[in-house]
Symmetry: C2
Subunit: 234 residues, 2 copies
């Protein structure tokens, strides 16, 4: 609590000090009450790394859109995730300065393209050059396929693609979250499991290590949630 009594004098100062003392006492009492109701052991042992985006892991998704002249562009995004089940939705955060930004806002559409590990170099490339300077599809030889559902292209060679209609935006700070309602998910038949679902081993996606700036493949199955859950008693 910052002192607001500097303009007061005489009895008003004394009154202020008395009120402050009461407020401070009740504040301390409130803190003590909060400490007893909010359980938890005191902190120890961990090293503070500061207010940084050092969470693991982050996805590596390629966001495709058209620019103002209708040219397909692709950029790599890792500040992203699924954000709703119904309507099925995904959020992707972009800086407004990114070349893709204006096109996505104008056409209210983008696609999320999940690369296999064999496209790790292309994903790194898409994340380090700008569509302002280069035609990324021409440079990589990948195919921009025109989505029939949304006004955005997807990458034909990637095993799993997600067509999104921009349903909203939320400004966080350096980045704007683009919320995309999933209109359709399309997959190569070769990456589906026996139930017709995208298979992790076959799609073979990879993740971003925020601390080291490296990509990592996916490893082995640890089991289904129901199998794993049964290992805990109760």
């Amino acid at each position: 609590m910052k002192s607001k009594g500097q303009r007061s004098s005489g009895n008003r100062v004394l009154t202020f000090v008395a009120i402050f003392a009461i407020l401070a006492a009740s504040s301390i009492a409130g803190l003590a009450a909060s400490e007893t109701t909010s359980a938890g052991k005191p902190e120890e042992g961990k090293i503070s790394l500061g207010a940084r985006t050092l969470i693991l892991p982050a996805p590596v998704w390629i966001i495709c859109s058209y620019d103002s002249s209708g040219r397909p562009n692709a950029m790599t995004a890792s500040w992203a995730g699924i954000c709703s089940s119904d309507p099925a939705s995904v959020t992707v955060s972009l800086r407004e300065s990114r070349y893709s930004f204006d096109g996505i806002i104008a056409r209210k559409a983008f696609t999320v393209n999940i690369p296999s590990t064999r496209f790790a170099a292309e994903a790194a490339f898409f994340g380090t050059v700008s569509g302002r300077d280069i035609d990324k599809f021409q440079a990589t030889g990948l195919t921009a396929v025109a989505s029939g559902l949304v006004d955005a292209p997807y990458i034909g060679e990637f095993p799993l693609v997600v067509e999104c209609r921009l349903s909203g935006t939320y400004n966080v700070g350096s980045h704007v979250m683009l919320i995309g309602e999933i209109v359709d998910v399309k997959a190569d038949s070769s990456v589906l499991d026996g139930r017709g679902m995208p298979d992790m081993d076959k799609v073979d996606p990879f993740v971003f290590a925020t601390g080291s700036g490296s990509f990592y493949s996916i490893g082995e199955s640890l089991g289904s949630i129901s199998e794993l859950r049964d290992k805990i008693g109760k």
Copy 2:
């Protein structure tokens, strides 16, 4: 375009047919124009899976908070991701009906706790039971540590924890995105690399396969972004 003319008859049918023909022609013209400006090959080959959250991979993070009586709770979230660099922020989507929701809103705080693969069973458990019915910390024997920075607990045994101040919410539909400004990241010294950053191999996190409902470990490094990027000519 679905026919809406079934209730019409006589001249009204003819009028409708004529209008429909004009609309169809202009629609085709519009489509042709759109095809010339928005480049891309026509679609072929991929199988449509529908408007579903079948994106790979999703993170497995444990969200900790206090309930209204100050009891620590933990729930597993995979509809989540980093969403801003400055301020460093993360978004986690929860259904309003989840037991954790009210406590996070009331205290404007939560923590994101990244489990190692040895905690896969606990992560499955935290995602399949409710804090309404059970004390999840008591059931698993894990330790709720009181954060000194935000009004939420974190899991002492987990190698990497992220303390967040709730900075905003965005209602997507079934889920509300909780946007958390990262106040601090804390790590066990044993999981840091030579540069003091969280090391993917040492933290040993895992991901969720949306299609199969399984957890998968992280595999091998594919290389740094700069190494990978150099494989693409130009």
